[in-house]
Amino acid sequence: MKFMCEWCFKHGAGKKWYLNSRNYLRETALEVNAEEYIFEVWKQFEKVYLQRIYGISMKGPGYKFDIPIIGRALKWYVNSWFRKETPLKGRNPRRAEGHPGQVIPLADAKKILEMAEPVIRVNCACRHMTRGIKDPCCLAFGVLAESVPKLPRYVPDRGVEPLHMDEAQDFVEEMNNDGRVHTVWFGPMPYIVALCSCEMPECAAMRIRTSYDLQFLYKGEYVANVDFTKCDGCQSCVSRCSFGALTFDGSMNRPFIDGWQCFGCGLCATACPQGTIQMKERTSFPALKEVW
């Protein structure tokens, strides 16, 4: 990936990929057979993590990736699934082919909700898988919103109800206050199906990105940057980072944000009472513009 986000270049029409309204259209869903694809992904969700690759059980992927040469090849192979763009129809949902996501800040999450239609709340598939709990914190769009009622384990106890744009925006703001990381998902590329409210350790995407460095979840379009002249050292930001990028620098009485570790979720920025932390375009940092 060179000098700008590859997906924005291919699917953004001059904007960020998730702000291009074409990626939410029914025509786009039909072009990539999204309905069948995303139904299969959610139906078989748990099995993605317990599959075999050419007969090799993927239990303990860390052990497998550590095998010399073969491990690197396996990792390359698994990564190639997520970024797969062809064939437009017929990508394998059990391998999440063409189904990567990206971290986004609250402001962009709200812009997405101006474009997606319909929007419903569904139970988080990750939390259902790992904790057996029903937490309706994922916002499903378009064909996913239509598929979920066919999968009872993801239907919230209160039932399926479409959210108005402002209700959905209030909801993501509430998630932001709770420290949830906003992520947006292709399903399959370039059609966009969901806006999730992720957290460690339940979220499978954050888990395989942070523990195995698999490119299932990409870093965001922004990097947090602190204006030290305004920071009063209140430490409101310190508990907000899920990626281990932010620590408090006591000797200078200000936070230290490691730009190499920052995923651009903006949770530190939304917690700052002084508005000291700004989300700056990743591409404006020459050394970080290829770090996704």
Partner: protein
């Protein structure tokens, strides 16, 4: 040393009625799934760990299991 998560599914029974191991696991590694989600057969539901290499072997699941069905080796 590779970690293995072993469950005696006969002793466990229907994990949907318990789920204590899933709830207690600090890094949320335990997955509950049936071979086929259309199936409502309790003998088909299983608990397992996919990311065994991330397990610290804290044994919280072993201690919490009321059926003593879990072994982590």
């Amino acid at each position: 040393m590779k970690t293995k998560f072993l469950v005696d599914m006969e002793a466990c029974g229907d994990p949907r009625e318990c789920m204590q191991c899933m709830r207690i696991c600090p890094p949320a590694l335990i997955i509950m799934y049936p071979p086929d989600y259309e199936s409502n057969d309790p003998t088909e539901w299983k608990v397992d760990v996919a990311f065994t290499d991330l397990c610290t072997r804290c044994n919280a699941c072993v201690d919490v299991c009321p059926k003593e069905a879990i072994r982590v080796i």
